[in-house]
């Protein structure tokens, strides 16, 4: 490299050389070309949070309409568009990508490596996400947002009952964003199996890594069903096929099966990494190792497995045979067992620990108290006769907000308070964080608990208005008040973030005295190359296990030559594989490149072509994509020389 003198470089010179080598171009060129997992991870998180606040605003407007009977805040068209986009945004543009963002940022650091297994694929997956998000939201620009609800049941979502391009924004957008999720999952799995630090056996992986692994495996098996579902929907809409048309021998229930075969695992795709975050945060602030490590890992994997056997509980009212439904009812009950194990491992951890009442811990505790209720109502919904009353009522709305908002968003906020100091180098304010938590917690329960009751009082979901005299008025006022409070609580965290960016306390390397390898980098944010020398994991809690973290040294063979600083100096990182993480070979980390962006852009143009049914635009997209992927593969050959 740049060091050509005779004498060996001093550590300082080496350090400087590494920094220069890994530095990315400033401004737009660097922005569009970056393949650094940390930048991509942050981008994921920031972008997703923009959508979090958009969806939150939509929720508050929906609540404004429902506060009083026969209210005129908005008409049915606007209301239906807004709840469709609220759900779609929260699932596809916030929860899924924000967890991918944390995974992207944290995995290489927690595993002790210098980047993801496929850094360019990582960049590609972000570009697909943001372009798909822009694609879906451009529906507002042309005044045609989708109206069919976030699960777009046919026939209501077909061309006859949803004419216009509104639902195409949804059908194509969801197909589009699925690409991002899938390639991201492949990247996670390969990274986890091939990039672990020496000594980090599967048995020693951080619990967050286990949860991302379970999530990624679920994605690989679940998302194809969604893609098939939406592709067939769009084929029906755009090309007149009859997959879901009764008149043509198709079946509307086929769509529901495809959708929920993804849709139920999706709940766990979101829940499992969130639980992984909690299982990371709890031991750190209980100052005690996680009790029942293997139990927790097994329950996360078990949840992932069973989650594929419960989808029909979304369809209990569709008139399926009782015996078939009983099987799914049983599976829906059984999935509570691994959740119970997970719960009690964490309780056991806290029980004999010494709790430090930090903001991340509070959010983890909030997860407990909220998910407990969401889990309990989930069991209720698994019971067939109960489900027939509760499904599609506000009871369901309450239940899935306890699970998806409470049990996922609370850990994400906890994770922000916990890991953001590593990412930005500055602490968030603890006092403001705690206020934010309490307001969110109280607001959340005021907003969503009464919805259980409303469901039993006969209020169906997705109604834009209701008449006076049904006994729903008071509770709806409480719900609106609670949601406003919850929204205000999240704003306090947003303010906290900006204040911290401007003048937060410097975080140092390991502000929480935590155990994981991500805290072993001397600085926050970590150096561009993560680790100049690859760390050695001597146990499950590397920073607690020994006074000083052991670092690997470069060997002479191909498998170990990049372990030490010389690896960082050559933009290399070791590949380690198998159960024991034995060194196998060395991987070249690709240079920054525009090609992932070009490929993603081409695909976006293709989707626009399908949307406006313009073959020429579609072909143009394909050409751009072909250029992108050809260049990409070409360079791969060169890089590997």
């Amino acid at each position: 490299m740049t060091v050509t003198e005779e004498r060996p470089p001093t550590p300082e010179e080496e350090h400087e050389a590494i920094e220069i080598l890994w530095e990315e171009a400033p401004g737009a060129p660097g922005f569009f070309a970056s393949v650094d997992h940390k930048r991509i991870g942050m981008r994921y998180i920031y972008t997703a949070f923009i959508f979090f606040f958009i969806a939150g605003l939509q929720a508050l407007l929906l609540r404004a309409q429902l506060t009083s009977p026969d209210s005129q805040v908005m008409g049915p068209q606007t209301y239906n568009q807004m709840f469709t986009m609220h759900g779609t945004t929260m699932i596809f543009l916030f929860n899924t990508p924000v967890l991918a963002g944390f995974g992207n940022y944290l995995l290489p650091l927690q595993l002790g490596t210098r980047d993801m297994a496929f850094p360019r694929l990582n960049a590609f997956s972000y570009w697909i996400f943001i372009l798909a998000a822009i694609f879906m939201y451009s529906s507002y620009l042309v005044g045609r947002p989708p109206t069919g609800g976030w699960f777009a049941y046919v026939p209501n979502a077909n061309k006859t009952y949803s004419p216009g391009i509104n639902m195409d924004f949804w059908g194509l957008g969801v197909t589009f964003v699925g690409i991002s999720t899938t390639v991201g999952a492949v990247n996670f799995i390969v990274t986890i199996f091939k990039m672990r630090a020496p000594g980090m056996t599967l048995n020693r992986m951080p619990m967050f890594v286990w949860s991302i692994l379970a999530m990624a495996v679920m994605i690989i098996f679940a998302v194809p069903a969604l893609t098939v579902g939406t592709v067939l929907l769009e084929a029906d809409r755009l090309f007149g096929t009859q997959f879901y048309e009764v008149a043509g021998g198709g079946s509307p229930l086929l769509y529901q099966h495809l959708f929920w075969f993804w849709g139920h695992p999706e709940v766990y795709i979101l829940f499992v990494p969130a639980a992984g975050m909690v299982a990371t945060i709890i031991p750190v602030f209980a100052r005690r190792r996680l009790a029942g490590y293997k139990w927790v890992a097994a329950s996360l994997v078990g949840i992932a497995f069973i989650s594929f056997g419960v989808w029909v509980h979304h369809m209990f009212a569709t008139g399926l045979p009782a015996l078939a439904m009983s099987m799914f009812s049983a599976a829906s009950l059984i999935i509570a067992v691994p959740s119970g194990v997970l719960f009690f491992c964490l309780i056991a951890t806290i029980w004999r620990g010494e709790v430090e009442w930090t903001t991340p811990f509070l959010f983890a505790l909030g997860w407990f108290l909220i998910f407990l209720l969401g889990g309990v109502t989930g069991v209720m919904l698994g019971v067939l006769p109960f489900n027939w009353q509760a499904t599609d009522s506000y009871f369901i709305v309450a239940h899935f907000h306890y699970v998806l908002n409470g049990a996922v968003v609370f850990p994400i906020f906890g994770a922000l308070y916990y890991w953001l100091p590593k990412m930005t180098g500055r602490m968030l304010d603890e006092k403001l964080g705690k206020i934010s938590f309490w307001i969110m917690f109280v607001g959340f329960n005021l907003a969503f608990f009464p919805m259980h009751v409303l469901g039993f009082l006969g209020m169906p979901r997705r109604i834009y208005t209701y008449s006076e005299g049904l006994g729903w008025e008071t509770l709806n006022v409480v719900v609106t008040f609670g949601s406003a409070l919850f929204g205000f609580g999240t704003l306090l965290t947003l303010i906290n973030f900006f204040v911290s960016k401007a003048r937060g306390k410097p975080a140092g390397g390991n502000p929480w005295n935590a155990d994981g390898l991500e805290w072993s980098t001397p600085t926050s944010p970590p150096p561009e190359c993560n680790f100049e020398s690859i760390p050695v994991a001597a146990g499950r809690h590397p920073l607690w296990d020994s006074e000083k973290l052991e670092e690997a040294e470069s060997g002479t063979d191909d498998a170990t030559k990049s372990m030490g600083p010389s690896g960082a100096l050559n933009r290399q990182t070791p590949i380690l594989g198998g159960m024991q993480s034995d060194p196998e070979e060395t991987m070249e980390i690709p240079e920054p490149t525009y090609l992932p962006f070009v490929l993603a852009l081409g695909i976006a143009v293709l989707f626009v072509g399908l949307l406006i049914e313009a073959a020429l635009v579609g072909v143009l997209g394909l050409v751009v994509a072909a250029i992108g992927i050809t260049g990409w593969l070409w360079r791969t050959e060169a890089d590997l020389q």
Binding site: V337, V383, L457
Partner: protein
Amino acid sequence: MTRARRRALSLPALGLVLLAACSRQSPNALDPEGPAAKSVASVAWLMFGLATAVYVVVAGFIIIGALRGKKESRISDGAFIWIGGLLVPCVILGGLAVVTVKTTDTLRKPDANPLRIEATGYQFWWAVEYKDEKVTTANEIRVPAGRPVEIGLHSKDVIHSFWVPQLAGKVDMVPGQRNVIRFTAEKPGEYRGQCAEFCGLQHAKMALLVIAEEAGEYQRWVTRQQRPRGGPSSEREAAGEQVFMRSSCAGCHTVRDTEAQGTLGPDLSDFGGRKSLGALATENNRANLAGWIENSQSIKPGNLMPPVQLEPDELLNLLEYLENLR
């Protein structure tokens, strides 16, 4: 933190109190009026009880665990995991599985000699047909109190869901298939129901009423519907009939024994006896009906019925005619 604990404990209880407070005026699933809804309600109460107990115990462990500090404990990690995580959930869930199977079995069992009705969902109203009696109506289903009812559910357009909480759980109306819902309304009364599957623009205003009557009263209604329709009883009514047949009304609505045989909108043969307009969108009275005919889009925007332009006199005659359809 005791505050959080009290909150945690009081939440389920608070909900139940609220539920009881609101029950009188609502279509409340926990205020059941028939065996189907009753058996679900008892399952629900059983689970609310269990859930509250589970919540209190588990949340108690979490909060006490967090507050007790670093102390030795006789409860080992393994005990927590094996007993709390595995054993207790398995016992509770096993019990629930038995309850599920038994209740499902009871609910799915056909009754002897039920009243058979076919109901069809449309955007955004319900067609109701009594096959054996050869009677057709819409949006309001009359049944004799105490007699089991079996309704075949259909859809002519998108998926709807038939839900009358006080009588039974919901069953979807899926195009291309016939689902069945069974219930018995034990006491005379009006039971409000509503479409529970999002079905488009006016999903919110697709409600229905099940009206349970004493057997004799129900039979009188059926007999009236089966008798051939007599001519108009006044001049105004006769003029109103003319308006109905001449204007666009007859193209979409049916009035039995007349030339009006349209099927796009609800059958109006017993319209005068109905309590509501537009599938419970508003009360059926003269002022609302006039408004509905002039422009139903202002009451239920997006429903299929276009505004109808009539001279004031024609409108009055038409109202007279419609109010006397029984």
